[in-house]
């Protein structure tokens, strides 16, 4: 119970202004660092989905789920371990185009890491990579030797192996 672990928290919510503030306040009050945060639409029309990554004990995460679900506009919150989810992050690298010709090694890195070239022009080219954090970090280390003009990484997105029992809940309300 007392060991800290990485958990993916998925929060299904109404799509309202201010809810992000309400949710982040729950973490800020308790000095809990949000390692990553992603918001998007969900599989249900009109329902938003927040995906957060947190390192906490299970005891603590259960209390946080309680606080999240207490919010009027939160429909349901779930927490899962890495083993229970399929997850990845995405990243973009902007690199000087001349390097592509001057440093043939870059082409090998792109091939071996199955990184996609999004665009190329005279000044720069953009690489996109989706995968585990460790893969992105490896790529970052390899490319930084040549110079990266810009780098950005997304928050984690994840789907769970088990069903999210939320559609049934919403159907119940409509009855």
């Amino acid at each position: 119970m007392s060991e800290e672990k990485t958990y993916t928290v998925s929060i299904y919510t109404e799509n309202n202004i201010g809810l992000l503030n309400r949710i982040s306040a729950i973490f800020q009050r308790r000095h809990i660092n949000i390692e990553s945060l992603n918001t998007s639409i969900s599989e249900i029309e009109g329902v938003s989905r927040f995906t957060l990554v947190l390192s906490l004990t299970e005891e603590r995460i259960k209390k946080i789920i309680g606080q999240l679900e207490k919010q009027v506009e939160v429909i349901k919150a779930f927490y899962h371990t890495d083993e229970q989810t399929i997850f990845l992050e995405s990243c973009l690298f902007k690199i000087k185009s001349s390097l592509l010709f001057e440093e043939p090694q870059i082409q090998n890195i792109i091939k071996e890491s199955s990184t996609r070239i999004v665009t190329v022009n005279k000044e720069f080219f953009v690489l996109e990579k989706s995968g585990r954090r460790s893969e992105i970090e490896l790529l970052y280390r390899e490319l930084s030797a040549f110079g990266i003009m810009q780098f950005v990484r997304s928050g984690r997105i994840a789907v769970t192996k088990d069903e999210m029992k939320i559609s049934a809940m919403l159907a119940e309300f409509r009855e």
Binding site: G18, N21, R22, A25, K63, G66, Q67, K70, V72, F173
Partner: protein, 572 residues
């Protein structure tokens, strides 16, 4: 969201400002507390037109408006309404809103906001009240179009009063107040993302009943959940059938009468000796509608470790938050207590009760008798409360502020009826009592309402004497004056080697101030004048102010020192 169907609905074209009034009337609001200003002026203009239907009370500060609305809500079980302008008007509401949030009081607060085209421009009296109030509201919303008003107002009232109640803030831009739209109103009956009352689990009820029926030394601690759930009758039936000693938190008191034979007193930092000591000796601990505040539990590592814990609770996030429950019975207390009653066996627990009586005797001999029948010269707070008991017989609504006098009031005030103890429990807001008493008297005009306040807290919202003067609301005000911030001074004495940093108060002539507001008043400095003064106060038909000069450096005992175990409670 689900709206109550309204078949013969006729839409009428009105302005947002009028729609707000119509929503309040549709929700049965008769009284609201507030303070006008630029951004809310259109709504005030409508209040002027509707003054025969809506009684607006002009408090002297917006904080007073929220506390008055709280007092109104707490005695009546209805939603309290406060209204203010943007900027400072809105931020002044925050203390009362935070107080209502932590004490689960249903409030709807309405604030004006600058016109929507000015939002984010640092306009005059613009403040991000939605951002500011988010952590202390159950829900909040900013209206920028008049057409949103009916649905948002319906949701506001529904959210404030349903499930575990709490404060809601609705911010309305000035342009939305002027905008015309086709108005119709439906009450809200459900929101898909919000489940206010958990479904009762029959297995959990059976498990709880089994534990209770087999217990040798069971103990109940109840909180405000019994009152908020309107479950007083069901609760009394459970207590009486099982014969279990029942103790209360300061927000729970008055759910059953003080002199009920199974009522064993108050738990927590300045609670009674017996229930604190025996918390760590019982074998089954039954928490009902309470949330294990740290002022109740003391050190959690040594709190009720020997017992099985049953937690009756409406808010799932409270279960296992501070104390792990062996059995959690989720649901509205009225429903869960009624459902468990037939499963419970009759019992008396006589020898177990004897332990409570023995501890009570120790506390009575060492503390209580000296508090309420003192032999020393100086007046004690306890004897003032006892004097009030003699006069009211326990029928009054007692509104206390925060500090020593509050603990003494909760310990010694006698209550016959529910919803009678109005105090700031969770937030500990000094300045609460005077405005809350105004609201309480308006929420229960047929009842005697007595505010008991320290000299420190009194001066935090003393301007509300102006509200009393203007409305002539007949509240009785008792200031227990020790010329100190007494509770802080007590801690300085006990834990900071008597270094009285900024706790001694040089006070004004309180009687003269009351006289300035034409409030009948007197000061008592001697014991022989106390009973007569209380009698005069109660007999007075209008508002009355009574100042009692009490011993300067009395301490409140028993006391569980901060961070200590409840069974390490000190008697001196």
């Amino acid at each position: 969201m689900k709206l109550q169907p309204n078949e013969n609905q006729v839409k009428e074209r009105i302005t947002g400002k009028e729609a707000i009034i119509k929503c309040l009337l549709a929700e049965g609001v008769d009284t609201l507390y507030g303070y006008p200003g630029g951004a809310i002026m259109p709504v005030y203009d409508e209040l002027y037109k509707y003054k025969n239907q809506l009684n607006h009370i002009l408090t002297r500060h917006e904080q007073g408006a929220t506390h008055a609305a709280q007092g109104y809500a707490r005695v009546s079980g209805r939603v309290g309404v406060a209204i203010a302008t943007s900027g400072p008007g809105a931020t002044n509401l925050i203390t009362g809103i935070a107080d209502a949030q932590i004490d689960s009081t249903p409030l709807v607060c309405i604030t004006g906001q600058v016109a929507s085209h000015l939002l984010g421009s640092d306009a005059f009296q613009e403040t991000d009240i939605i951002g500011i109030s988010t952590p202390v509201t159950k829900w909040n919303y900013q209206i920028t179009h008049a057409s949103e008003i009916p649905e948002v107002m319906a949701k506001a009232f529904y959210i404030a009063k349903s499930g575990r109640p709490g404060p809601v803030l609705i911010d309305i831009t000035k342009d939305a107040q002027f905008e015309e739209f086709d108005f119709s109103y439906n009450k809200c009956t459900g929101i898909r993302s919000y489940k206010p009352i958990p479904v009762v689990n029959k297995e959990k009820l059976a498990e709880a009943a089994e534990l209770i029926n087999n217990a040798k030394k069971p103990m109940i601690v109840w909180g405000q959940g019994v009152i908020l759930g309107k479950a007083e009758e069901e609760f009394k039936a459970v207590v009486e059938k099982t014969g279990i000693p029942a103790a209360w938190t300061i927000l729970g008191v008055s759910a059953i009468p003080t002199d009920h034979p199974l009522n064993v007193g108050m738990v927590g930092m300045h609670g009674n000796y017996a229930p604190n000591m025996l918390t760590n000796e019982c074998d089954v601990f039954i928490a009902i509608g309470m949330r294990f505040d740290d002022r109740v539990t003391g050190d959690l590592n040594t709190y009720v470790k020997q017992a099985k814990v049953i937690h009756f609770e409406i808010d799932p996030s409270e279960v296992n938050k501070n104390v792990n429950a062996d059995v959690a019975v989720l649901g509205n207390s009225k429903e869960t207590l009624a459902a468990i009653l037939p499963l419970l066996k009759e019992n008396k627990h006589e020898s177990w009760h004897q332990q409570f009586k023995d501890f009570y005797k120790t506390e009575f001999d060492r503390i209580i008798t000296h508090d309420i029948h003192p032999t020393k010269e100086g007046l004690t707070m306890g004897e003032v409360i006892e004097g009030i008991n003699q006069e009211t017989k326990g029928d009054a609504v007692i509104v206390s502020d925060v500090g020593q006098h509050q603990m003494v009031t909760c310990r010694y005030a006698k209550f016959n009826k529910t919803q009678s103890n109005i105090t700031s429990g969770g937030l500990g807001t000094m300045g609460f009592a005077l405005p809350a008493a105004i609201g309480a008297k308006m929420g229960a005009p047929e009842r005697e309402v007595i505010a008991i306040i320290g000299d420190g807290g009194y001066q935090m919202t003393i301007q509300e004497l102006g509200t009393i003067f203007q409305t002539k609301v007949p509240v009785k005000i008792v200031v227990l004056n020790n010329d100190f911030l007494g509770m802080v001074r007590q801690w300085q004495q006990l834990f900071f080697d008597k270094r009285y940093a900024s706790t001694e108060m040089v006070n004004p002539d309180f009687v003269a101030i009351a006289r300035g507001y034409s409030i009948e008043s007197q000061q008592v400095t001697k014991r022989e004048n106390l009973a007569g003064a209380i009698k005069t106060m109660i007999a007075c038909e209008g508002p009355y102010f009574l100042e009692v000069k009490v011993e300067k450096e009395d301490n409140v005992f028993p006391m569980v020192p901060s961070g200590a175990s409840v069974s390490d409670i000190r008697l001196e």
